[in-house]
């Protein structure tokens, strides 16, 4: 206690200030304050404010300043709760996703389940051989489905047609498979695989077709077999090459004409397309810069398409230079060496203008005066347009207006040129009205 300075809390201050302390207490308090300048000064401040306010103020400040622990705790709880909710939601979502798996998977699952129901049959050498050939995983799966079916078919008495021409064992085996009529299989299967029939057919078709493809590569004479297969399966395979250099073309688009079904050739130019059953479709192979080629697919795997370069290829671009062209500096081409400078004048010149005026400025013979002179001031703008005509000699209104009309109806005016520039100007025109029998002189 002697080491630590005694801590005077606000309640003590409160009591001191509200005179709740005894004199002895006060003395002790005051002595403490002598030692503690911080408290001393604080007391001075407190003495300015009434005590009740003090307590409230302090409480308010504290609440404002220092968040209560509860608040922090609640935030932690809130955060924990949110995380829990998110995790739960995530788990539920995953569970839902698992219940709706990819259709293929489910169907094959169903198939395999149902197939397994079929009674086991001792394997014949032929199915074994099929198994031995290397195949893609899907094929093997399909085959597995197929094999039990085959086995099951064997239970039912069916005629196995042998239509092969080549005596090769491999071919034979394949034929037996091939010749197992889809229908037979179906008949058997409908009883067991009512729902999965269609998909099973497809799988079977694909598998048989793939088996065929595998065989074809090895045995050339199996062409006939594939043809038989083709009647049921419609995967078109081929290779696109360039006509010029016989190199394979990757990225060639092969589309069934009229549809959006298509494939793109691989890096080695080969492509593979699934066609609809028994439809006579035409395929179109197109590639940028090459002529598109339509072809009826040969269902053999050797659809070899050669694309020729497009005739509409862009011509070479040749750049021709014609030299530079001089810019003409200066505005008007002048016949004279001197710059253009003239006053505004009527088109055609003053001579003809006055001739025109005299022709038209006529007095009646009965008019008292010999002649009437109307002086006009014309204001001509930079385009040669007459902007104003004023009466310069206070001539008679009628004569003025007639004179004015004559000028307006007369030839167009060229504006004043100063150093080749058109400017506004003012022109004086004297219209003399005379009696007809005399010819007047221009001014």
């Amino acid at each position: 206690m002697t080491q630590r300075k005694s801590h005077i809390d606000k309640n003590t201050f409160g009591r001191y200030l509200t005179n709740q302390m005894t004199p002895a207490e006060r003395n002790v308090f005051e002595k403490e304050l002598q030692k503690n300048p911080f408290e001393a000064e604080a007391l001075e401040g407190f003495e300015m404010v009434s005590s009740s306010d003090l307590q409230n103020d302090l409480r308010r400040i504290k609440a404002q300043l220092i968040p209560s622990r509860r608040k922090k705790r609640t935030t932690y709880y809130a955060a924990a709760a949110t995380i829990l909710l998110l995790v739960t939601a995530g788990v539920i979502w995953i569970q839902l996703a698992q219940q709706n798996p990819i259709p293929q998977m489910s169907e094959t699952k169903i198939k395999s389940e149902k197939i397994q129901q079929n009674p086991a049959v001792p394997t014949s050498p032929q199915p074994k051989a099929i198994k031995e050939t290397p195949k893609a995983p899907f094929e093997t799966q399909a085959e597995e489905h197929f094999l039990p079916a085959e086995k099951s078919v064997r239970l039912a008495p069916t005629e196995i047609k042998v239509a092969t021409k080549t005596p090769a064992l491999k071919a034979k085996r394949k034929e037996t498979i091939n010749n197992i009529d889809v229908r037979d299989v179906n008949n058997y299967e409908t009883t067991k695989l009512a729902n999965a029939k269609a998909s099973f057919n497809e799988a079977e078709e694909i598998s048989t077709q793939k088996v065929a493809a595998a065989k074809d590569r090895t045995a050339f004479g199996a062409r006939l077999n594939t043809e038989k297969l083709a009647s049921r399966s419609n995967t078109i395979r081929g290779k696109i090459i360039s006509a010029e250099d016989k190199m394979p073309l990757p990225g060639v688009s092969v589309v069934v004409k009229g549809t959006s079904k298509g494939a793109v050739s691989a890096i080695d130019g080969t492509f593979e397309l699934q066609l609809d059953n028994d439809s006579n479709s035409i395929l179109v192979a197109s590639f940028i810069g090459m002529e598109s080629r339509e072809f009826a697919p040969d269902t053999s795997s050797n659809n070899l398409i050669a694309l020729e370069a497009s005739r509409l290829a862009l011509d070479e671009v040749v750049v021709v230079g014609y030299g530079t062209q001089q810019k003409v500096i200066g505005s008007v081409h002048q016949p004279h060496a001197t710059p253009l400078n003239h006053d505004a004048k009527p088109n055609g010149g003053y001579t003809s203008f006055y001739a025109y005026l005299n022709e038209n400025a006529v007095l009646t013979n009965s008019h008292p005066e010999k002649k009437v002179v109307v002086k006009l001031k014309l204001e001509i703008d930079a385009t040669g347009k007459i902007t104003a005509i004023t009466n310069a000699n206070k001539s008679d209104k009628t004569f003025f207006s007639t004179a004015k009309q004559l000028v307006v109806d007369g030839p167009a005016w060229l504006p004043k040129y100063v150093e080749n520039r058109k400017v506004e100007s003012m022109v004086k025109v004297r219209v003399v009205f005379r009696k007809k029998h005399k010819t007047s002189n221009p001014d």
Binding site: M1, T2, R4, K5, S6, H7, I8, D9, K10, N11, T12, F13, M21, P23, A24, E25, R26, N27, V28, F29, E30, K31, E32, Q34, K35, N36, P37, F38, E39, E41, A42, L43, E44, G45, F46, M48, V49, D53, L54, D57, L58, R60, I61, K62, Q64, L65, I66, P67, R69, K72
Partner: protein, 194 residues
């Protein structure tokens, strides 16, 4: 001593402990706890300088922010005294911003004088010590009357300012100032004696 409050919280740590805990963990809760112990004092001196509650409240908050940043820059051994200095500085700076000349004089020397330090504690406020007692007693005799009486009553008779003021018919403020001046003179006297 009843002035030391009984700890409500069993986990009541010392200032030093709280401070080091804060510096380690940067936990604002800890700093808040520490500040809240002296917040009333900060408020008090803010009131003294600003003379109005609104400004004083703002100051309390501003000072809190100030210590949040500067606590890392200084090596604080005694939180209370450091807080005292910071608060006082803040108040004076604020006042200086508003009206320039007024409080200049009181700032620096007072601060220097008031920074609490064991060395600065007046002998009369310290714990009793025989030698010092004797020297003190001698010096007190040499004091001026009023100062002598006040000191005697305050320290030896343990009377509060109010009582002293009533008895001596002086204002409390006067009593306080006599005690202050008396202490100063005693200090000088003791110094001379050593």
């Amino acid at each position: 001593m009843y002035l030391i409050p009984k700890s409500r919280n069993k986990k009541r740590l010392s200032d030093q402990e709280l401070l080091s805990k804060y510096l380690k963990k940067q936990d604002f809760d800890v700093l808040g706890e520490l500040y809240s112990r002296y917040m009333h004092l900060v408020y008090g001196i803010s009131l003294k300088y600003f003379k109005n509650t609104e400004q004083a409240k703002d100051a309390v908050i501003n000072i809190y922010e100030k210590i949040q940043s500067s606590i890392h820059n200084h090596e604080v051994k005694n939180f209370k005294s450091w807080l005292y200095v910071v608060s006082k500085n803040h108040c004076l700076m604020e006042l200086r911003k508003k009206s320039v000349p007024r409080l200049r004089s009181s700032s620096e020397e007072e601060l220097a004088g008031f920074v609490e330090n064991t060395a600065d504690v007046h002998p009369i406020d310290e714990e009793q010590n025989a030698e010092i007692e004797k020297a003190l007693a001698d010096c007190i005799k040499k004091l001026k009357t009023e100062q002598k009486r006040c000191i005697r009553m305050f320290y030896y008779d343990n009377k509060c300012y109010r009582t002293i003021s009533q008895e001596l018919k002086l204002e409390e403020k006067k009593v306080k100032s006599f005690i202050q001046n008396g202490k100063r003179n005693l200090k000088i006297c003791l110094e001379r004696k050593r």
